[in-house]
């Protein structure tokens, strides 16, 4: 189980955004796994089962701590995202930054991801982590969060839009020429976009 420890930690940290809280959840998750290992029916993979335990613990932790941050920024982003005027018209798409595998090695990108998650609301961050990191299905997410599948679809859509917006702002990746250029560039293959990286 040691080989899962960092992966599990990354999930917990994604939800909680606090190192010690995340480590506490990881510890509690492994204790639960040992306690209930005999009851594990094997309907899902052990990895999925472990993630489900971590997710439930994190959600419980968030509910208990009631450390909800102000959502003004998030709400503004959501509003802008719905209009579709902000994203993509004034910012170059993230994918235009180049090959993710190589680009993501850059520390400022990693920091921007951390900041982006930090600014999201708990619910938006939760759906992002569940889907992007844990690979949970919409149905599983709906069950875990106690809402409908439609709500999950909507929540995930807006969470992604917000995250994209934050990342582009953090990276200060502004188009250098005109507003039309990003749209044109976005249609091009990603490798060609590397040339316009600041």
């Amino acid at each position: 189980m040691v080989r899962y420890q960092r992966k599990v930690y990354s999930v917990a940290f994604g939800y909680l955004r606090n190192q010690e809280d995340a480590l506490d959840v990881v510890q509690e998750a492994f204790i639960k796994v040992h306690r209930y290992l005999a009851k594990f029916e094997g309907n899902s993979s052990f990895y999925t089962w472990l993630y489900r335990i971590v997710t439930n613990l994190c959600i419980d932790h968030l509910r208990k701590s009631k450390r909800h941050r102000a959502l003004e920024f998030d709400d503004k982003l959501r509003h802008e995202s719905k209009s579709g005027e902000t994203l993509g018209t004034h910012h170059r798409p993230l994918s235009a930054m180049g090959d993710p595998a190589s680009v993501l090695q850059r520390q400022e990108i990693l920091d921007a991801v951390q900041d982006g998650l930090q600014y999201l609301s708990d619910k938006h961050r939760a759906v992002i982590i569940m889907r992007e990191l844990q690979g949970m299905s919409y149905a599983e997410m709906a069950t875990t969060m106690g809402c409908s599948k439609g709500t999950i679809m909507s929540r995930l859509f807006h969470a992604r839009r917000n995250m994209q917006k934050i990342l582009t702002e953090k990276l200060e990746y502004q188009p250098s020429a005109s507003n039309k250029e990003p749209a044109e560039k976005s249609k091009k293959p990603m490798k060609s976009a590397e040339a316009v990286m600041p």
């Binding site: 994604g14 040992h34 209009s83 798409p93 991801v113 998650l117 992604r160 994209q164 749209a183």
Partner: protein, 217 residues
């Protein structure tokens, strides 16, 4: 990025959540902008994954070792508590299982014993009242000897004490009343005689002690 090409259905398509018909419909309408959006989503997914994994790498291995130590301690404590709970349960269940076949015979024996105790108790209460008499009648000399040899010793039991007290009581034949008042005169009883069912008190008037007066009572 064209907003029209970025909607919830496209995200669901990216996530593989659409049914066959829906998926085919989206694929038929995919524009270049929509494909760019899909590339964005793919980049975002990788960015989040790599970013959080990088965050996890910041935690030193020693911190995880501490974590596992605590996990181990907690599990050991759980095991000890469980073992203690199991041993308690098994002890009582073993005791119960051992005595279960003996329960009915033991109850029957207890009933018989209780009845016997009650019967013997009721039988002993009758002679108990006569015991002091029998003891007094047959052991009087021996008891007197014992009293002589051990004059300061306390009574051995209640029966002996009762016997001693009985010895100290005055005899029924001795007169206790020494004076008499009769016919406005008082006097000292001299003697009491009893003949043929008639008791005669011979008493001496205080005024004339020399005068003998006989009255039949």
């Amino acid at each position: 990025m064209n907003p029209v090409s970025d909607n919830e259905n496209l995200h669901a398509y990216f996530d593989g959540e659409l049914q066959d018909e829906e998926r085919k419909a989206v694929e038929a309408m995919l524009t270049e902008d929509a494909e760019a959006t899909l590339a964005e989503l793919s980049f975002l997914r990788q960015a989040i994954s790599v970013g959080l994994e990088a965050e996890a790498e910041k935690i030193p291995e020693a911190r995880f070792e501490q974590l596992w130590d605590e996990v181990e301690r907690t599990l050991e404590r759980d095991a000890r508590l469980q073992q203690a709970a199991d041993s308690d349960v098994s002890l009582w269940s073993r005791v119960g299982a051992f005595f279960k076949p003996l329960l009915a015979p033991t109850a029957a024996l207890a009933g018989v014993a209780a009845a016997a105790v009650i019967y013997i108790g009721s039988g002993e209460s009758e002679p108990a009242e006569n015991t002091p008499v029998s003891v007094a009648s047959k052991d009087e000399p021996a008891q007197a000897a014992a009293d002589e040899t051990m004059p300061l010793a306390p009574p051995q039991d209640d029966r002996i004490a009762a016997h001693v007290e009985a010895d100290e009581m005055p005899s029924n034949s001795e007169a206790e009343i020494q004076r008499i008042e009769f016919g406005g005169k008082t006097g000292r009883i001299d003697r009491i005689e009893s003949k043929q069912g008639i008791t005669t008190v011979i008493w001496i008037d205080d005024e004339d002690e020399t005068l003998d007066s006989e009255r039949a009572l």
